[in-house]
Amino acid sequence: MGDILSKYDVLGAFGMTIYLAFFAAIGSLVLGTVVAIMRVSPVKVLQILGAWYVNIIRNIPLTLIMVFSILGALYILGISLADRQSPTFIVDNGVRWAIVALSIYHAAFVCEALRSGVNTVPLGQAEAARSIGLTFGQSLRHVILPQAFRGSIAPLGSTLIALIKNTTVAAVIGVGEAAGLMSKVIENETGSIQVFLVFALGFVILTLPVGMLFTTLSRRLAVKR
């Protein structure tokens, strides 16, 4: 096991995994919140557009989005996310497109997580807020959103864990993260169980604390009903 760790930059590969996950988490949170707001808004057209986004993205494989981003968007359509003159053009483009693809894909799940949070708020809460004369904005700010946010912590945690694991899909466009390095190791050495354990445990170490943190948070912040 030590052999692999000393010969290959395993930590660097997991660093890239974390890098991808970090920026894609921010990207998908922003995009997902926008879509979630559209879906719970009173404007019919925005609701439909939000629902379309979720239904389309949720039913396409992430691998397809990832492959399309490079083979379609970059090579054919020429949409480049990095400076063509720069010496690290190919690497930069791969990483940036991977972040974009991960963000677009997981935004659909963030949206559904937030919406399920809104759904945990009982009808009586909104009715009560209105009946004491709060305006729409006030009832949203003081009554509904605080509860909705607390109700969506658990599914948001699940989405984040899925996102961390799904960064491996970036390997299909040649980003040097954990799964990419692992196929290189297996090709050069043998597919020994140690190789698998090194990479598998890496993901267990990354995802387990996140899962525990979100479970604790969702329990502690749960609205007692």
Partner: protein, 292 residues
């Protein structure tokens, strides 16, 4: 729509004007995005009829798309069957009255849920290839099925467990009180009900399996995505080929989701509890979001 009616008052004249404004902004924004995308495609000649015409010929379907879909379905069907078995065994293991069996099952289930499917696929592919476990044509399929089975089996195990836990306590108590052993109670009283309740969630999981089978792309399994790439090179229409593949995936998966929702409604009409098609587990789980 009931949630919308609850969240919002009936709009007055000012709110209606505001909504109309938002509608316009939304429509314009999407139309703008679509325009930019189509413009970009048109600039690169991707909207030329010549690139899209192959898709109305029988040859493209016979030589590329149908074989791709068949392989995708084959991998998904094998995986969901094996994952069901795996899940049933370890789900029952986690419900076992014997503590060590419970611990071992828990560790296995939690481990395979935490490891990305692609990592398992690449590893299985490497091991099968180097030890010549299968003939070289079957290797990619075997690796895809292995990866999908281990991950989705762990998810199904969780479904089994939550399905049994969602049953009323009286069911198990009734079984025990008429003299069945805990094992008999689980097998003949709780599991049959839990499996019915699980059905929508299981079909939802099939969508995940279908999408994840596209990861076979990375280990040269000739599923729909890889066939579309080949098609794109053969006819020099990469972008249309991927768009058609995406549409095919959406049609299949959307149909399955609709079926899952229908079953869910049907079960709840019959007064049964059912696990929702997109269950989200609080602990480290990602039943809905896991798919790649």
């Amino acid at each position: 729509m009931s949630e919308q009616r609850v969240l919002f008052d009936a709009p007055g004249p000012r709110a209606r004007r505001r909504h109309a404004l938002f509608t316009c902004v939304g429509v314009l924004l999407v139309a703008g995005l679509l325009y930019v995308a189509l413009r970009k495609m048109a600039d690169k000649g991707q909207l030329d009829g010549a690139l899209w015409k192959p898709f109305i010929t029988a040859e493209v379907w016979r030589e590329y798309l149908i074989p791709g879909l068949t392989n995708t379905f084959k991998a998904a069907a094998l995986s969901i069957l094996l994952a069901g078995t795996f899940g049933l065994v370890f789900g029952m293991g986690r419900l076992s009255p014997i503590a060590p069996v419970r611990w071992v099952s828990s560790v296995i289930v939690e481990f395979f849920r935490a490891v990305p499917v692609l990592i398992m696929m690449i590893f299985a592919f490497g091991v099968y290839a180097q030890n010549q476990v299968f003939s070289s044509e079957v290797n990619p399929l075997a690796a895809v099925v292995t990866g999908l089975t281990l991950y989705n089996g762990a998810v199904v195990a969780e479904l089994v467990r939550s399905g049994v836990h969602s049953l009323p306590k009286g069911q198990a108590e009734a079984g025990l009180s008429i003299g069945l052993t805990p094992g008999q109670t689980l097998r003949s009283i709780q599991l049959p009900q839990a499996l019915t309740a699980m059905l929508p969630a299981l079909i939802g999981q099939l969508v995940v399996v279908l999408k994840d089978s596209a990861l076979g792309y990375q280990i040269t399994y000739l599923e729909l995505l890889l066939w579309s790439k080949t098609l794109g090179s053969a006819y020099a229409n990469t972008v249309p080929a991927y768009i058609v593949a995406a549409v095919l995936f959406i049609i299949v998966n959307y149909t399955l989701s609709v079926l899952a929702r229908y079953l869910e409604r049907r079960l709840s009409r019959r007064g049964r509890t059912s696990l929702p098609a997109v269950a989200v587990a609080p602990t480290g789980g990602d039943l809905s979001a896991a798919a790649a």
